[in-house]
Symmetry: C2
Subunit: 266 residues, 2 copies
């Protein structure tokens, strides 16, 4: 990707996982609601950062002009966020970004969806068994959303918006249902979190592939190659060339790196 | 259903198809943005009609209190409606109705979704063949939405909201992807419209079943039993007991009732 890549929500958790590994990989434009401090830009110049709200049509149109791809992360990230906030920041904001991308002739949008878009598949009768290595239950991205909260509803809506902008406006869209992103070790003593763990290096690598690969419309799961997984990563491997390096099974349940682990803790 | 049934959007096209057949079937409460004239109430007393916007939390809470079921039709019905309107009237309005229903202990919500939630399945390579009797292509409600416009995105979002309110709050929800509703004959000289035709009697009967049947969460197609169909009505038959009486094949392509038709034109 020679054209600039716009990263919305650059200061957030996912944005930082991406930037800390890929600052030199693309010509970035960084967008956030607040000015992005130097230690969160990883060498990206201040002149390439934009302070704007994703619900601001004009500001987003300016930010996206000339870009080849957008990684859209901005939004209210709280699973318990109230409806009014996710309606505005997540649903309306995401429509603004897709529309601006189409208007500007952007080629691809990688959209940060969430495990909360399908959280209600974790029904009482399936848990905690589904979080365990020997359980065969898998979601693969072809299933209908089953959000566990209104935040999850907003994320599922962003996926549907992406489908529309792909079908009707030829935008390439990949929706990444992000698992449990942590730096270093997987969540401690938390089976569900270990099953959907996404390490920082795998997160950055996955979004790198979202910018570089060719696709039409995809929904993929963003997790490391965890033994415990109940999300399939086959589609991400096949279509995007995702090759995760991490696996929560390389850590003890308490979060200690096992002695025979292939990769050092980040 | 002994408790009152709230009908939102009572003055609209679908609301009128329902009321004109079922005015005596339930104790109705009618809600619309404008006062409902007497000739659109079909004998339902003016005292049972409420003038309010579905985005008004308090008014909707008042309207729904004590009801056993809601048929939620209100919203901007234009397939080419702009984003701001469907965001407010359809997405926000539908969340308001579901939330009020849950808060009031309502048992069931029947939600008017639309063929536009899946309109982009009608891709160039499948049409017009898929509109024809001998074509086997079927959508059955288990497929992911593929909206053909932002109105369709808003309708798909109402389905996802319903899934959430069912899973997390135990509300029974049925989403009816309504086809092409016309009074009397099917759309003239329009293959697509004849394939997804929904007659007034079948529309009323289907929503009657939505109020009376028992279900958890369902997505069904609302069309008559047309020979041309590319939407399956099996799920509606099985779960709701839907027994459509009409079929666009009983009319000529030009919309004339055939001599051997089983049912008289309404």
């Amino acid at each position: 990707m020679d054209d600039p890549v716009l990263l919305t929500g650059a200061s957030g958790r996912v944005g930082q996982a991406i930037l800390s590994h890929l600052a030199d990989e693309f010509e970035w434009r960084l967008l956030d609601r607040e000015p992005i401090p130097e230690d969160r830009r990883y060498g990206v110049p201040e002149s390439a950062s934009i302070v704007a709200d994703v619900t601001d049509d004009e500001a987003v149109a300016d930010a996206v002009g000339g870009c080849g791809a957008v990684i859209h992360l901005a939004g209210d990230p709280r699973p318990n966020a109230p409806w009014d906030s996710v309606l505005t920041n997540n649903i309306d904001g995401t429509q603004t970004v897709y529309q601006a991308a189409v208007d500007a002739g952007v080629e691809k949008v990688a959209y940060a969806s969430s495990n909360h878009a399908v959280g209600a598949y974790e029904a009482e009768e399936r848990t905690p068994e589904m979080y365990r290595t020997d359980d065969e239950f898998r979601l693969d991205g072809t299933e209908l959303p089953r959000p566990s909260n209104l935040y999850g509803v907003s994320k599922a809506t962003g996926e549907t918006l992406g489908r529309y902008y792909h079908d009707e406006h030829d935008l390439s869209v990949v929706c990444v249902r992000i698992g449990n992103l942590t730096k270093g070790h997987p969540p401690r003593e938390y089976e569900r979190g270990q099953a959907m763990w996404l390490s920082h290096p795998d997160c950055a690598h996955l979004f790198d592939r979202c910018v570089k690969a060719e696709y039409d419309y995809e929904i993929v799961y963003g997790i490391s190659d965890n033994d415990r997984k109940y999300y399939s990563i086959e589609r991400a491997k096949e279509v995007l060339g995702y090759e995760p390096r991490d696996n929560s099974a390389e850590y003890t349940f308490e979060g200690e790196l096992r002695e025979d682990a292939e990769h050092p803790e980040e």
